[in-house]
């Protein structure tokens, strides 16, 4: 690629040249998000249950960890995790793994709060009935509480999915391959920052807007009427 420092701000042939490469980066960003949200959904539920534990030695550490993760920036968390993941693996792999782990932990802490709200929204009578029927704790949770709690959590999870897609490009801070890594690489190789970041912004909207619509659909489908 040989581009001169041209005066025109926006050149379409540059856009077409950049598009496939940036889209390839986007694929990795989306991949990190898909794995991340899957883990976060499970982790959030586990954290929410641990948080409800009767044992103080489990409850308080869980609450502190959730609160700490929620009030510190994901970027710094990634930089903290990277050297912990790095030993014994190749840098690109470690960076991608760190990104996925960081996203999962960060959003796990967020989703746990939604799960908690969902669990608490289950009617008191349901809990009492479980006791009255002498259900084992496992039966109570898997057959009574969670089937009623989880639908109320789905809209919130959808919103976190959208938020996570937007946080995934942060991988650039540790060198994880993704949309921003590609765009900023192309930009600095060719000095065509306008096209590189412009294409990136548009591709981003192309992914995040449909996801936002999907989240809104989930909200309509499962959400409560809050008045």
């Amino acid at each position: 690629m040989t581009f001169t420092l041209a005066q025109e701000v926006w050149r379409w042939e540059v856009v077409w040249e950049f598009l496939p490469e940036i889209a390839w980066g986007m694929a990795f960003t989306v991949l990190a998000t898909v794995i991340g949200i899957t883990v976060a959904m499970v982790l959030g539920l586990v954290l929410a249950l641990l948080r409800r534990s009767q044992i103080k030695a489990i409850r308080w550490p869980t609450i502190s960890i959730i609160e700490f993760i929620r009030s510190t920036p994901l970027l710094v968390q990634l930089l903290f995790l990277f050297p912990l993941v790095l030993p014994g693996s190749r840098v690109p792999t470690a960076a991608f793994v760190t990104l996925v782990v960081g996203l999962a932990l960060h959003y796990g802490a967020y989703t746990s709060e939604s799960y908690r709200a969902g669990i608490e929204s289950v009617d008191r009578g349901q809990w009492e009935a479980s006791i009255a029927l002498n259900l084992a704790p496992a039966t109570k949770w898997t057959r009574v509480i969670l089937p009623q709690a989880i639908p109320t959590v789905i809209p919130a999870l959808g919103n976190y999915l959208v938020a996570m897609v937007k946080d995934a490009p942060l991988g650039i801070a540790i060198g994880a391959f993704g949309i921003l890594t590609v765009a900023s690489g192309l930009g600095s190789q060719t000095f065509r920052f306008t096209e590189a970041y412009g294409v990136m912004g548009l591709l981003f909207l192309a992914v995040s807007l449909p996801l936002a619509l999907f989240a809104r659909y989930l909200e309509k489908r499962y959400g409560f009427e809050r008045t």
């Binding site: 009030s71 710094v76 030993p87 937007k166 946080d167 650039i172 900023s184 995040s208």
Partner: protein, 249 residues
């Protein structure tokens, strides 16, 4: 290489700590305050426009909200820092911004403005929700008292909506503060930047701090700022709650 991250000093020296906490902290807080002020103005503007009777205004507000939220904070930050100057047509080196005697440059403005625009997208929804939560009777009463639209908003609707808006607005502020860590990626010397700087230099130090200590310190510092913001909004909530439910209402 990796094994060298372990077995180093367990604490930072005072000099290293103060660079991250104070030199960096001042910039982190400044970016946050600038972004929050711009974000609040945009939130109010577009939140109120979103409830306008004019379809044009509603449409403009809708587009703004979707774009500001749809493009992620980091994308906006990079776009503002590197692409926007070319669109507008100026050299970033010509822009000089001095803050507390340090030339922080265009990237500082770019970072704060990008975060502010991003915040405005979320904030507009908070404002819209807060205003919509006020019972219709209040609007009807204001109309029957023949208040103008501006007076109705200023003296009747907004003061009541503040109670509903404060908790989500406080959370949004914390999100924005966390977002300020992104500006380190475009070269603004905030807390993350200085932590990263120390991290880059530590290989040349005889017995530098371990990576976990450097980033752990940064995390704790961000945690402290977050808690300070949270405490501020809890205080505001108590203040407004007392005013409306204990006193004059």
């Amino acid at each position: 290489m990796a094994s060298r991250s372990w077995g180093r000093d367990a604490v930072l020296t005072w000099d290293q700590f103060s660079r991250i906490a104070f030199d960096g902290g001042v910039i982190t807080v400044s970016v946050f305050v600038m972004a929050a002020v711009l974000g609040t103005v945009l939130s109010l503007l577009f939140g109120i426009m979103g409830l306008s009777e004019s379809r044009l205004f509603r449409g403009i507000s809708r587009i703004y909200v979707e774009v500001a939220r749809g493009a992620s904070a980091i994308v906006l930050v990079f776009f503002a820092a590197f692409a926007a100057p070319r669109f507008i047509g100026f050299r970033t080196s010509d822009v000089s911004v001095t803050l507390f005697g340090i030339d922080v440059g265009w990237v500082f403005i770019a970072g704060a403005v990008a975060l502010g625009i991003n915040m405005g997208g979320y904030g507009a929804e908070v404002v819209r929700g807060g205003i919509k939560s006020i019972p219709r009777g209040q609007t009807e009463a204001s109309i029957s008292l023949s208040l103008t639209n501006g007076q109705r908003l200023r003296y009747v609707i907004l003061p009541q909506a503040v109670m509903t808006m404060l908790p989500p607005y406080g959370n949004l502020n914390i999100e924005v503060m966390k977002g300020t860590a992104l500006v380190s990626l475009i070269g603004v010397a905030d807390m993350t930047f200085f932590a990263r700087d120390l991290f880059n230099r530590r290989n040349f130090l005889e017995n530098g701090p371990s990576l976990v200590v450097i980033w752990g310190t940064a995390l704790v510092l961000y945690f402290i700022v977050s808690q300070a913001i949270a405490a501020f909004y809890r205080w505001q909530e108590r203040r407004f709650g007392g005013r409306w439910f204990g006193g004059r209402l």
